[in-house]
Symmetry: C3
Subunit: 315 residues, 3 copies
């Protein structure tokens, strides 16, 4: 139900970004996820909602966690799921992507879940297919289901977003998770601060209505939520910061630093955690961490997304 | 029903080749595929026909498309399916094949779908197992389900085979798809022409009752169906033709060349297409192309084959 | 039912070793496997016992056979099963294992089936998770489901274990299969002899109540069961024996050597067999071999283990 009491209807065959969703659409997904979260806590974790539907996991970048989360979501909805491994493909990527996807679609797949290293690839695919496309991460653009599960987890603990202070910490530059969080949090009314080394925060991102800080200790005390981004250690050679040790000293969340934070601050991380770099082991496993709750919620949110997109009336 | 009005009964636990099938058996598979094609177009694309049966995909050569097509076929019949990856197997191939297959069979698998680089391997396996064996491509011998889906697609458009002119274009020498097409088309009454560079057409193949041509432009005008074979670019080093550019000029199907063809000619290709080599992008995506229809029909035909072989009474 | 007529109740969420199981627990698994063996021989090889439960296969060492056996067991119980491939993981193993497993658990997986190269890893995991853990082989420690399927196969032929002479032949030193067999056989009352080259039999293993022999021909005549262990040819460089030919001459089971054995001796092997090394092809395929029966029984035993551990009341 929307605010004015009318029942809302889902109209998208694709989930490509949080940028394109309205506040009402985001809330509809979160409400749908509420009921599916309950399913996963039952003795029999399965509903027949997508029986006879076919979902394809098409991952051009490897990702055990996200792929598995979608696979479980599909199975708990009783859909059939097919995993495509695209390693070792020798043809040119652009052509290959479209041809591969059209072949998959021709097998009467209902929804394709795709991860790809090129920003915009999910949208490109969605335009050329009748099948639904769920973006499971496209380059540095967006990772909308991660954004949605972060919203779902915050909402579960803090109940409302209005007036909530959320700080995204770390590598904003390369992070599709950050971008989906920013769009989602802003639409739901939270105040968003980005904090990290100047080299890892693009200047023009201020235009999205977020605050920027390079000094974690100064912004930390007022935050209700810390969403700590993963440092991609393999990108270290680009020298975005002097050393891992210095990064950890300036932006790593340690027990010591946590003393400056609110008692009820939520610590989030999309995983996998580099313990001792962006987060100490104690904080990752501590009482304020909701990292594993995020994983649990990820299945529920993905069930909601697959449910809504797969059952939409197709044009 | 056969022509004399008696109901036919399927009697084979294996599908090894189109060479060994009678015209009636081929027609029975195509008729069974008719009803399964309808299943894949339903809202709920699933029937309980093989519930509690187990199918194993045993692919010694990688093939995402064919493997996926069989996997979907099995799932839409409600069978359980197990994928074996056989990469990294260190034991000698001959021994390994039999031992691997007997181990799989011992887990009470009903039907093994196998792709293998050795011609005759599927037949070898079928003789030593009680489980059914479906040949998903054995060396340069046959790829019977591809042949059947090609027949099914032609039949869907042209209704009958008698008097139909079908031309297979390209690398006949290495093509198991060509061999299965020849057997199937001849049994159903079509006239078959093989066209390609002399180095890629084995002379003795004339004995199968086909015509041979090295000049595509001269045979093109009378064809009702063009089945364009894939050029295996990785075999280029063997120098079966001077260059890809020359191959494309002589045997590639371009928009220009299509002007010489019948208005209602069908353009087929087993995929994946090397755009600009054996087929231009415009033709591949054009109105006469049935390439994606072939992919759709592949699932229906494989459902029919798995259904018939798995439910046959075993000796 | 236990001997004193009371109904026994399964109380373990994990299956980590045969060492920790009581005789009654082992018998309970074997009795449960009896009924599941019947399921796999039905036309419809499936029961709804674990519908809506989720099993995860987490294999840090590759193993097509064991992984497939567990996958089939889960599917025939109607559970959902997820396969994790852990190849290419770059983080330090110790941390990674716990974090990976806790992430999997957070997706509300009921039971994790794990193979890992470190002895004790399954127990380590079981202690930190609410999810059940089934050890599918941990280093050189134990491979309890292999031990159980060996017991199940012996019991199927020999009916009782009291007074039965069982000889494990070959590489005892590196064999987790040997260790699980020793614990299980001793608990059920069999007499166990270990036979192999002195370099491959650890001295202190006598403390488990087994006999040791380095001379196969002298102990062979009195054995009721020969369980032939696999020689890991890749470990040959360590020079535990002079050459494969000499190993085969001393400890390989040939037709010639079989003449010295009892008429009704059972020949077992966990597979895959190195034909001509630890076992001749004739013996492997001969009348006394129960190797494929072991494979069949493996599915039934794993169904029993997944059934009992997954449905136990969790603390």
């Amino acid at each position: 139900m929307t605010k004015d009491g009318k029942e809302m209807k889902w109209t998208r065959k694709d989930l490509l970004s949080l940028e394109e969703l309205s506040r009402e659409e985001i809330e509809m997904i979160l409400q749908t996820a509420d009921s599916f979260k309950e399913v996963s806590s039952r003795e029999i974790k399965k509903v027949p909602a997508l029986r006879g539907k076919t979902i394809a996991n098409l991952f051009f970048e490897s990702s055990t966690r996200t792929r598995t989360s979608f696979e479980l979501a599909a199975k708990r909805l009783s859909a059939d799921i097919i995993n495509f491994s695209s390693a070792g493909s020798s043809t040119s990527k652009g052509e290959n992507l479209r041809d591969t996807a059209r072949n998959i679609e021709a097998m009467q797949i209902d929804t394709i879940v795709m991860r790809h290293s090129s920003s915009g690839s999910a949208e490109y695919l969605a335009r050329s297919l009748k099948a639904g496309v769920v973006n499971a991460g496209d380059g540095t653009h967006e990772h909308p289901t991660q954004g949605l599960l972060d919203l779902f987890t915050i909402r579960g603990r803090k109940k409302k977003f209005e007036g909530l202070n959320v700080c995204l910490v770390g590598d904003i530059l390369h992070s599709r998770v950050a971008r989906s969080n920013i769009w989602g949090l802003k639409k739901l009314g939270a105040k968003v601060t980005l904090c990290g080394p100047p080299t890892l925060i693009p200047k023009e991102i201020e235009n999205l209505g977020v605050e920027i800080s390079y000094d974690l200790d100064s912004v930390l005390p007022k935050q209700d939520v810390l969403n700590i981004l993963r440092i991609q250690l393999e990108r270290q050679s680009h020298a975005f910061f002097p050393s891992i040790r210095e990064y950890a000293a300036e932006y790593g969340i340690s027990n010591e630093r946590m003393k400056k934070a609110k008692k009820d601050v939520m610590v989030m991380h999309p995983g996998p955690v580099n313990r001792g770099v962006e987060l100490s082991g104690e904080v990752a496993d501590g009482e304020q961490s909701v990292i594993l709750e995020q994983v649990t919620n990820g299945v529920a949110v993905r069930m909601a997304v697959l449910f809504l997109t797969t059952l939409v009336e197709r044009g």
